[in-house]
């Protein structure tokens, strides 16, 4: 009879075959599969603004207004910000790419009235419209993960109040041809003069973000959020002007006995050189950290030699910061994702899933606060 | 209004076996200025197992309305819902008239190209499919002949062209052989209930005339074949 030999796997294979077991054995001796300690975060490298149209090594004709490149562990995230200009009278939240959707239109006096009786805390907040792409070696419709990430970025940005709507207002300039045939572009930075001379209508920037993720290892929201904030920080909004001669024209049309006036849109042109920096609400800037809690099996604990047992593993469950790798992600039934503002005073977003107790939550918030300060 | 009387069909011409080398069955139908080519392949082994039915033949129909077929030259999306709907209707119609249980575990694939379109899309396509199926030698219960009929100012009108279709309400029927059985009936605009019967009546009569013309062509072609055989 052949003797039954135990099969042995190298660690990398075991991690795939039985992620739970592999993780348990690692944790029992006080270390994580990625060789970090329990509460250690990965280092994050960030290069900002490299692709932007206003960056120093100016990429000509680029439509990118801000960008960032973030590396952490194996994962690389590239975020680019592009934009467009829309005529105002549309609340920015409902404007999507086809730019035509209008949710509610208020005449100016109506807004004042409304504001008195009904204060809307989100009315003054703006957001960008993010698209997240996780590279997976083929193309196709966006996966659920990508859509969820995109939506979370959008909601967190909108509710945290990092970008105010006012900062996206376009201060329009006017292009005129002087007598000697020279083309001059005038910007009315003094708003009082501008409102008199400039056109009566208002425009707003709309920002779009495209986030690409390479080599996914572990939950992505925190990295993607970081890259988005970094990109927004160096986002430059182009100055825009309209041509003086392009007046507000109405073209009458007649179709089947009905009359109508088709209104000519102003042509808005973006200045290739002049630009403003996007103003962010620094106080509201916050960084995200994620945690997971792993309950340690009695069994794994018993397998460890007493002398190997370190002080850290005496509780039955451990808190891991910055989840990485398949083993940790697959076994983490209890997760937390926390966004804390840079001063560490206010929380911007907390998502908890699974039975986390108060002590663990407190510790996680504490760590997230430190992390947020450190990343600033 | 192109100078026809109310119960007059447009010029109807058809040929079968137009592409003898490229398909099992083929036909060309000209109904007024609408021209349709239809190609039938099969019964054959289905391309994927999922389409296989143990007891019946499955039908695959594709309809290509070419962008140059109408004046606006709009490129039509193949998955446009209207086209999809027509395809489904045609499929259900011919599933009933082909003796599908004679060809178990096979597919019959039907492809129609609309070369020019001047009204009567569904009817021209239906007629061309009938002819191509006959040419392919696929067993059917009877002809399905199809024609449209409209209604204007108390008079029913037969076989409308594009201009008339745009402005009048009309219906398209598919009729089985010489009977008064309707295999297909599509009406998309308003017609007073009491006028419906009259419109239906001329459509049925028109359908029968088309059937006769298709029958003539099939017989002519059959005789041609026969004479070739005899000459050998």
């Amino acid at each position: 009879m052949a003797e039954i030999e135990p099969i042995t796997f190298p660690p990398a294979v075991l991690a795939r075959v039985s992620p739970e077991l592999s993780l348990q054995r690692h944790l029992a001796i006080g270390i994580r599969p990625c060789l970090r300690t329990f509460e250690e975060f990965r280092a994050v490298e960030c290069t900002a603004g490299g692709l932007s149209r206003y960056s120093e090594e100016s990429v000509k004709d680029s439509s990118v207004l801000g960008s960032s490149l973030v590396k952490s562990g194996n994962t690389t995230v590239i975020c680019t910000i592009t934009g467009g200009i829309l005529e105002e009278d549309l609340p920015a939240e409902v404007v999507n790419e086809d730019a035509e959707a209008v949710n509610a239109i208020f005449a100016p006096e109506a807004i004042e009235e409304e504001a008195k009786e009904e204060f809307d805390s989100l009315e003054s907040n703006a957001a960008v419209y993010p698209i997240v792409e996780v590279e997976r070696g083929r193309i196709g419709a966006p996966t659920d993960e990508e859509m969820i990430l995109g939506q979370r970025l959008y909601e967190t940005l909108l509710h945290s109040g990092i970008i105010s709507k006012e900062s996206l207002n376009v201060r329009v300039g006017l292009r005129s041809v002087e007598e000697d045939g020279k083309v001059v572009i005038t910007y009315f930075d003094d708003s009082e003069i501008g409102s008199e001379l400039g056109p009566k209508r208002k425009w707003q920037y709309v920002l779009y973000a495209k986030v690409k993720v390479f080599s996914r290892s572990g939950p992505l929201f925190e990295l993607v959020w970081y890259s988005l904030l970094q990109a927004l920080k160096n986002t430059k909004l182009p100055r825009a002007y309209i041509d003086e001669s392009a007046a507000d024209i109405k073209i009458p049309v007649k179709i089947r006995g009905n009359f109508a006036a088709v209104r000519e849109q102003y042509q808005i042109i973006c200045d290739p050189l002049e630009h403003d920096t996007l103003i962010l609400n620094e106080a509201a800037l916050g960084y995200a950290s994620n945690f997971c809690i792993i309950d340690i099996d009695e069994e794994s604990r018993e397998t460890v030699e007493p002398e190997d047992q370190s002080m850290e593993v005496d509780s039955r469950s451990v808190l891991l910061a910055d989840v990485e790798g398949e083993e940790e992600e697959a076994s983490s039934k209890k997760t937390m994702s926390i966004v804390v503002d840079s001063k560490g005073e206010e929380l911007k977003s907390v998502t908890i899933s699974g039975g986390v107790d108060n002590d663990q939550l407190k510790r996680a918030v504490e760590l997230a606060r430190l992390r947020s300060k450190q990343l600033l | 209004m192109d100078g026809r009387r109310w119960n007059e069909l447009r010029r109807f011409q058809c040929r079968i076996n137009t592409h003898p080398n490229s398909a099992d069955g083929s036909s060309f139908v000209e109904q007024g200025n609408s021209k349709v080519v239809c190609i039938v392949e099969g019964p054959m082994e289905p391309p994927s197992r999922s389409q296989l039915s143990a007891t019946e033949a499955t039908l695959n129909i594709s309809l290509n309305v070419t962008p140059f077929s109408s004046i606006d030259r709009k490129r039509r999306n193949k998955n446009e819902r209207r086209i999809q709907e027509i395809i489904t209707s045609l499929k259900r119609t011919f599933e009933q008239s082909i003796i599908t249980d004679k060809y178990p575990r096979t597919t019959i694939s039907i492809t129609c190209h609309v070369l020019t379109l001047d009204g009567g899309l569904i009817s021209a396509v239906t007629n061309s499919i009938t002819l191509a199926l006959i040419d392919a030698g696929i067993a059917m219960y009877d002809y399905i002949s199809s024609v449209s009929a409209g209604f204007y100012d108390n008079t029913p009108l037969l076989d409308l062209n594009q201009l008339e279709e745009n402005d009048l309400s009309y219906l398209t029927i598919g009729i089985v052989g010489k009977s008064e059985k309707l295999a297909l009936l599509i009406l998309e605009n308003k017609i007073p209930l009491d006028k419906l019967e009259g419109v239906l009546a001329i459509a049925v009569a028109g359908g029968h005339r088309i059937r006769d013309m298709m029958d003539k062509e099939v017989r002519r072609h059959g005789e041609l074949r026969l004479s070739k055989l005899a000459n050998k």
Binding site: R152, D341, S349 | -
Partner: protein, 220 residues
């Protein structure tokens, strides 16, 4: 809050839930045969679908699906049904909130799913219930806020607890967004236990009514 079970006949379990301004109907089918790509060898696959009251489904509903799934994957005993599929469809009938918020809808579909799962007889590890909160500008915690409360709030929250023996057992899911302090978060979590227990008492009476209706033919 009003709730009713077995409102639909083509699915295995369903519940209609009205909570304040929000109304949702949830259906559960399962265990049924999954599509090949959904099948899991040792556990049941969960298909979670959330549909908006108005307009087409987009990423907003996907995020809601994700939240609901994270609650359900912790509570449904998926290992009892290997290779099977449990399909949960939540249809919001009246959102009762601005489209920029999702907390009221999230709480309602979680509660609705609980009743629908019970109705379908799908094995659950424990009971659960959820509630939505908002924190007003002055720091006051508002339970099940009105749309106006939400619009004026600083932050919005959803809290879902598991329940054992009619008492809150552990936190299953919590999602908070906006600006709030740590203490505020804890007070929301604490307030959550109270209202979740109250909801659970209501659900229990709904379930009791359902069971006595199910077994009406056993009576004399």
């Amino acid at each position: 809050m009003e709730s009713q079970t077995t409102v639909l006949t083509r699915v295995d379990g369903s519940a209609d839930l009205v909570h304040g301004e929000t109304r949702a109907i949830v259906s559960v089918s399962g265990p049924i045969e999954p599509k090949a790509r959904q099948e899991l060898p040792a556990a049941a696959a969960l298909e979670v679908i959330v549909r908006a009251d108005v307009g087409v489904a987009d990423t907003r509903e996907k995020l809601l699906e994700n939240k609901l799934r994270s609650v359900l994957s912790q509570t449904i005993l998926t290992t009892s049904y290997p290779r099977q599929l449990i399909q949960i469809v939540a249809q919001v009938l009246e959102s009762g909130e601005d489209e920029r918020y999702t907390c009221k809808e999230a709480a309602s579909i979680i509660n609705g799913s609980y009743l629908a799962l019970i109705d379908a007889g799908v094995a659950l590890q424990c009971s659960f219930a959820a509630e939505s909160f908002a924190i007003a500008q002055d720091g006051e915690v508002i339970t099940n806020p009105t749309p106006l409360d939400l619009r004026q709030s600083k932050s919005s929250h959803v809290v879902c607890y598991s329940i054992r023996d009619a008492k809150v057992d552990s936190l299953l899911f919590s999602d908070s967004i906006g600006s709030f302090t740590e203490t505020q978060l804890y007070s929301v979590l604490a307030r959550g236990t109270e209202s979740v227990e109250a909801h659970h008492r209501h659900f229990r009476s709904t379930i009791e009514a359902k069971i006595s209706k199910d077994f009406v033919w056993k009576l004399q």
